[in-house]
Symmetry: C2
Subunit: 325 residues, 2 copies
């Protein structure tokens, strides 16, 4: 009744932006990501008959309140699926996802938790079922079940049974690099979940966003297959800008960008104008991730580090999917 | 055969963004502006039989090339309208529109030129005809014919005969203030004309932009009538953000914003959170204009001046329409 799993976070190249079902976490559009080797969570789940409630430790500290509730509610799904509604567990998670780099630890966190808990309670090993389960903890986490390039199929069923991730290409298909730019001022990231909801409900541009996704997906998948970096970078950057544009047309409008966000975007554009192929992508926060190919590693690092307001650069390569330790 | 006219520039609160006819300068959507007393052009047009071509002096310097051609081509319309195709003129213009403040001098410039030339050549004084004429020199200039709050009706006719400005409220209706924030780095403003065209032709969000205008206009006109500053400010700011969002969804995407643009936007939002009602608007460039009411003059000035990258603050009040000197 005990298992340990490791899962990496992922960065969306085609963004997940908007839910059609808040409770089952069903998305409005397909998304596509790259799993990253640099940022991960390791989680041990140990079901013990002596327990009458789950005990959740994050980085060796007991967690209570809303965060404990979210983990426990997620374990309820697994207990139910296994026909063991009264099985409670010790959960020990260790996050190797620096908050300052602007990655949500929920992606690696829920993928590792789902994998460890499923195995510990004796559910059959099935990646598709694991992805569906993980999705219900945190939407984008369902992509972290797989390594490399991963697409989350939005599905059409009301119960979410066809909304899961599939691998497009494994991690060793293409040695891309992703530099996560750590900002000096750790300003509070606001609105990420609520902002998505507000955008779906009020943005004048939201339906055009959803309609724009199939073309992006088709093109970026061709680019990944051909290892055409310019193509993949251009599509990812344009998709990110289009996603952020939807927030500017929400009511009331809002933006995740800060002045340093713009400074990094300008730096990436300048690098391109100087012949260094680099592209940026930005999730629901001020942090910027820069995509490039290995031969430009040094230039990218040095240039980004010189931007005022940048504290550090954390580089990742394509990472593996869920593994058991 | 000689006349002198003065015209002020204007700031759009509901943006003109996209042409349906490039040659006649017919817009895709109605727009609404405030004429500003602080920035203006004075132009003298003197038709002389001795001339065989127009002579254009801007700030006492003879202008040749493309800029001369644009002025001369505009005078062709006036010569033709007056039945005097062979009448050429000395044109002396003085611009009181600092480029660094991010105002296009074309609005005050073409309004003053159209007024002075029309009167000099003997066309009847008619503000509506003057607005139609001015529009063909520079679209947003047609709003500068009037003072105070001005709406540019897009019209429906192919010949542009119903596309002109009308006054919504005179300058003395409401003492609003507009602070033009002058940036230290006079980075080249790119793409303003071409950017509009690219957005109309390629932006996924463009049609939703056009569809969003009637609601904005109705609401802002009610706000102006009621002198409801929060309402007017919120609508103007949201309209500006929505306009800029269309550029992020163009192909390829682009943005007029620089990091200092974001820093000023953040400062205005912070002022609001501290109880100082202030709103921003941004045209097709990096410069920001801040709207506020007179009682907050000192706070606004001091706060904006402290933003890194800000060189100066130029304050305007509602200004008059075209006048003859």
């Amino acid at each position: 009744m005990k298992a340990t799993a490791k899962a990496h976070t992922n960065i969306a190249l085609i963004k997940y932006w908007g839910k059609r079902d808040e409770s089952l976490i069903l998305p409005m559009n397909n998304s596509l990501s790259l799993t990253l080797d640099g940022f991960y969570t390791t989680t041990t789940v140990d079901f013990q008959d002596s327990l009458t409630a789950d005990q959740f430790y994050l980085n060796d500290r007991l967690v209570e309140g809303a965060e404990h509730h979210r983990v426990s509610a997620f374990l309820d799904r697994i207990r139910k699926a296994a026909g063991r509604p009264d099985a409670f567990a010790y959960v020990h998670s260790t996050n190797h996802v620096p908050t300052a780099a602007g990655f949500a630890s929920s992606a690696s966190g829920f993928a590792a938790l789902a994998a460890a808990a499923s195995r510990a309670i004796g559910l059959p090993d099935n990646a598709q079922a694991l992805s569906i389960l993980t999705r219900q903890g945190s939407g984008s986490a369902c992509r972290s079940v797989y390594g490399g390039f991963v697409e989350w199929e939005k599905g059409a069923e009301a119960d979410g049974s066809d909304s899961y991730a599939i691998q497009i290409a494994p991690a060793d298909h293409w040695d891309l690099r992703v530099a996560a730019v750590v900002l000096s001022s750790d300003e509070k990231k606001v609105l990420s979940r609520e902002g998505m909801k507000r955008t779906v409900e009020t943005s004048t541009f939201y339906s055009a966003w959803v309609e724009s996704i199939p073309d992006d997906l088709e093109a970026i998948k061709a680019g990944i297959a051909e290892k055409d970096f310019e193509k993949v970078g251009e599509i990812a950057e344009a998709n990110c800008l289009r996603m952020h544009a939807t927030t500017l047309a929400a009511n009331p409008p809002f933006s995740y960008w800060q002045s340093t966000t713009l400074a990094i975007m300008e730096t990436v554009r300048k690098l391109r104008s100087e012949g260094v192929p680099a592209f940026f992508t930005i999730d629901a926060g001020p942090n910027v991730k820069v995509l490039y190919t290995p031969e430009h590693e040094e230039t990218i690092r040095n240039t980004l580090q010189d931007v005022p307001g940048v504290h550090d650069i954390k580089v990742s390569r394509p990472g593996q999917g869920v593994s058991y330790v």
